[in-house]
């Protein structure tokens, strides 16, 4: 059963309603944390480590402290707090050692940013270099330099993550299904291939920003550019040992997040600075360079995929080894390693599967959630390997995938039974292939020296979240019959608030113009939501709003029934009015019920109508530590990209002729907003495919922390054509049958392009990015080999 009003009657859900926040954003009146000023606010500058791995010998701060206008100089000494959501392995400022180049070592709060920066110039720090371990494969070896010698003492989510004391392995997730060794041994056709993804940056246009004020009586008020108001509050409460109600978190408009603003960011630093400044508010804003090399990134990944197939093309065995480059801290990385394992065979039916996913500390910038949560990375390997195997079998890549994709009755690699309620991976594959005229060979290239090729790749992902993830919604009915909707998921651009507004209007039967989501989450007023990640807000928040609206309607019916002297079950609601069923002339407008109903003689009944709805993930289990069997996913979303490329063999330049994306959305709640989200995701995926990747020198120094040296897609880099296809196989339990599609458009864009590049050039690419330079080098290499 899907949740919500019957499909046939929908007035607002499924319509291309423009986003409600558009007016604020196009007029410049949307206030972001960057724009906020709290009276008396200090400004912050941070000194970052120039070394990837070193002991802090001494820090001399006297001269800086003496500078007029400097209020606080803080070092890690004395800040004995461990921070983290899944793994508490990080300090507010480096203590005793630095573990990556860019790590914050000293922070200065001063009357102006200029003074804070000048003070940083007066601080002397002496370091003694330690060995830096930069490759996670080396870091896994016995005797490797330990990034965290105290790993065994760190608090973490017990029973879910398994740090290995005395090693650099923060987590090892295993999947064991069937008998891989036997099945691989007896397979007719075998393949083994290795792949690499470099770390990349989220690049929200608003860098991280936080204002904190330590208030008298051990209280904290925060304004922060975050995806996670309640998780920020909770983790601050844990870190500082304060009651939750003593911490108030405001989240105003947020200028993009993509996962990078999940969990904790700059909030603890801003708070301890304010506390040390006697309660003056302190603003911390990351510079663009700090956004690159101090704040977390997407982890790098080394993967090896082994596949064994029958002659007929059935996958009989699959083994994946994932070695994640967690960087210096693995708070979020451990959960990405976990998600990568339970998704780690791709969307295929595999009876014999063996997966090891290792999250490994190194002395580099640390990782966190980034749109796709490990799936773009693992599917770079899986979907390239699937294409390589299809060639070995002399099968068409679409045909080979169609044969092996999950179908009704199959089981996933963690033992979940695949049903029609999961949507249709095969439908997505066929839709993407058709959109590209898969069977028709590419048209002739536009110029001599250019070649064309087509590629296809599947994608899948489920929300990676704790088994108990929950959220709530509150709807307040207004005196004029409109409503305010309160939630604590954050709309940092996805458009979810507009969708929740559509749902509330639909369910309450009021005009869309009268339903409003309150913009600015405030933990003092807005009801709980875990955090805005994992493509789960429209699904879970949508269900909570449906329930909150039903609660409002129950209250409206009760009062209207009393007023009209019938039973609540006899009351119908339509057009913002309640009336006796079949007697529209009895109607009472919501406005006369919203605060209570008053009889003609003055007697009054009822009271303000406030509806409450909630949602909690159900039926999820922890994964077995040895086999990985269990139910990790509330739902899965499947999709496919088909792409045609044109490559200049003289220069390595690649152009995307067309990319078609098919997703099984369950139900499209707002076609205009989802179209924007898919195009945006595809272009972000294009960034990962063609340009983006961190570069480090041999000492671990990060070489490209700016837009000059780290290119993200611009308006000039667009494909000649993009196409979107939405399948609508309803998701049981989803609002109107919808499932999440926010992260998915980005996943497997590199895989599809890599496959198209093979079709065009006959070269197997295994390393991202597929930059012009890297493509040309491989073309030249291949020519050299032939000669």
């Amino acid at each position: 059963m899907t949740k919500g009003q019957p499909m046939a009657d929908l007035k607002f859900v499924g319509k291309g309603i423009s986003r409600e926040d558009g007016v604020d954003k196009v007029s410049g009146s949307a206030r972001y944390t960057h724009d906020l000023v709290v009276p008396g606010m200090l400004h912050t500058a941070v000194i970052r480590s120039p070394h990837a791995s070193a002991r802090i010998v001494s820090i001399e701060t006297d001269a800086a402290e003496a500078l007029p206008g400097v209020r606080v100089v803080l070092t890690g000494e004395g800040l004995c707090y461990r921070l983290g959501l899944y793994m508490q392995d990080k300090c507010i400022l480096a203590r005793e050692v630095v573990r990556y180049q860019g790590e914050a070592v000293v922070a200065v709060a001063a009357d102006t940013l200029d003074i804070a920066r000048a003070a940083c110039q007066l601080i002397e720090i002496e370091y003694a270099l330690n060995e830096a371990i930069l490759d996670p494969r080396d870091a896994m070896q016995d005797g490797a330099h330990l990034v965290h010698p105290d790993l065994d003492s760190y608090d973490h989510m017990v029973g879910v993550f398994f740090p290995k004391a005395g090693t650099n392995v923060a987590h090892h997730q295993k999947i064991r299904k069937g008998d891989f060794d036997d099945a691989f041994e007896s397979a007719d056709v075998k393949l083994s291939a290795s792949f690499y993804n470099p770390p990349v940056q989220h690049v929200p246009m608003e860098t991280h920003a936080t204002i904190a004020q330590a208030l008298p009586g051990d209280r904290i008020e925060l304004w922060t550019s975050s995806q996670s108001p309640y998780t920020v509050r909770h983790l601050m409460s844990v870190a500082f040992g304060m009651p939750h109600a003593s911490i108030r978190v405001h989240v105003p408009y947020v200028g993009g997040g993509f996962g990078g603003k999940a969990g904790l960011g700059l909030e603890p630093l801003a708070y301890v600075l304010s506390r040390s400044a006697g309660g003056q508010p302190v603003k911390v804003v990351a510079t663009r360079e700090e956004e690159f090399n101090t704040l977390p990134s997407r982890q790098g990944l080394h993967s090896t995929i082994e596949i064994g197939c029958s002659k007929a093309g059935e996958i009989e065995a699959l083994k994946s080894t994932y070695v994640w480059d967690a960087g210096a801290y693995a708070d979020y990385g451990v959960n990405i390693g976990r998600a990568a394992a339970y998704s780690g065979g791709g969307p295929y039916s595999i009876d014999n599967c063996w997966i090891d996913s290792y999250v490994v500390y190194t002395n580099k910038i640390f990782g966190t959630a980034y749109r796709g949560f490990g799936h773009l990375e693992i599917l770079w390997g899986i979907e390239r390997a699937i294409d390589m195997m299809a060639r070995k079998l002399k099968m068409d890549p679409v045909e080979f995938r169609r044969l092996n994709l999950l179908k009704e009755g199959d089981t996933t690699i963690t033992g979940e039974t695949f049903t029609s309620g999961h949507g249709s991976p095969v439908g997505c594959l066929d839709a993407a292939a058709d959109a590209l005229d898969w069977e028709t060979p590419s048209a002739a290239p536009s110029e001599p020296g250019k070649v064309r090729g087509k590629g296809i790749a599947m994608l899948h992902k489920a929300p990676a979240m704790p088994t108990y993830t929950s959220c709530a919604a509150v709807i307040k009915l207004d005196e004029d019959g409109g409503c305010d909707i309160l939630v604590s998921g954050v709309d940092y651009g996805q458009g979810t608030y507009t969708v929740l507004r559509q749902i509330a209007a639909e369910e309450l039967k009021i005009p869309i113009e009268r339903a409003h989501v309150t913009w600015e989450c405030d933990t003092a007023f807005s009801p709980y939501d875990w955090q805005t990640v994992a493509s789960r807000f429209a699904y879970m928040g949508g269900n909570a709003v449906i329930e909150a609206a039903a609660d409002c309607l129950r209250q409206i019916r009760e009062v209207a029934a009393h007023a009209l002297d019938v039973e609540p079950d006899d009351i119908d609601c339509e057009d913002a009015s309640a009336f006796v069923r079949g007697k529209p002339e009895t109607k009472i407008p919501y406005g006369k019920l919203a605060l209570g109903y008053t009889f003609p003689n003055g007697n009054s009944i009822g009271g303000p109508v406030i509806g409450h709805g909630r949602f909690i993930a159900t039926g999820l289990t922890h994964l077995d530590p040895e086999t990985g069997q269990g139910l990790p996913a509330q739902y899965w979303t499947y999709g496919a990209h088909a792409v045609e490329v044109e490559v200049d063999t003289e220069t390595g330049e690649i152009e995307i002729v067309k990319i078609a994306t098919a997703l099984d959305a369950g139900k499209v709640l707002n076609p205009k907003l989802v179209a924007g989200q898919v195009v945006g995701g595809v272009i972000q995926g294009l960034g990962s495919a063609l340009w983006e990747g961190f570069r480090f020198d041999e000492t671990g120094r990060f070489l490209n922390p700016s837009f000059v040296d780290y290119k993200i897609p611009t308006a000039k880099d667009l494909p000649r054509e993009t196409e979107r296809i939405f399948l609508e196989n309803p998701q049981p339990g989803g609002p109107y049958g919808a499932r999440g599609v926010a992260e998915h458009p980005m996943i497997s864009v590199p895989s599809a392009i890599g496959n198209a590049l093979f079709d065009a050039l006959g070269i197997e690419f295994t390393t991202l990015p597929l930059s012009y330079e890297n493509i040309l080098l491989r073309i030249l290499e291949t020519h050299a080999e032939k000669e």
Binding site: M205, E206, R288, G676, G680, V708, T714
Partner: protein, 176 residues
Amino acid sequence: MHTISFHVNGEPQTVRVAATMTLLELLRDRLHLTGTKEGCGIGECGACTVLLNGAPVTACLILAVEADESTIETIEGETRNGQLSALQQAFIDAGAVQCGFCTPGMIMSARGLLRRNPEPTDEEIIEAIAGNLCRCTGYEAIIDAIRLAAAANRAREDDSLLDAAPPRDDEGAADG
């Protein structure tokens, strides 16, 4: 300190500024026009684009003293008497806004373009916003919005299609 005089969104201003102050700091911190955003502070992202004497500039790379005797237009000046301009409305209608942080700079680049070229081709639109980074939208809808706004401007010139909004006095003015 230097005394400078200039017009912002039609309003005359005289302020004293340090020689090191940027136009972006002047707008955001002194005049509280926070619609103009800072995305990098070093001229690489375009979020702080404003019009200086009609031409798009990144305000983080202009010193405040350079704005002496100039005319500056920011996103706050796009809205007149509470009415969105056709360009702003087109951004909403085309779905060209997501997180919104690049939007003010993007609109000012588009305004600069439409001012000097009321009927741009798609290539000219792309060229005009190539220096404005957006991480959310993938640009397609932004290009659509600017094309839509150009069409709306043409329609406005055609009396039969006049919409309810009063004509903006700067539409089509070649002051850049």
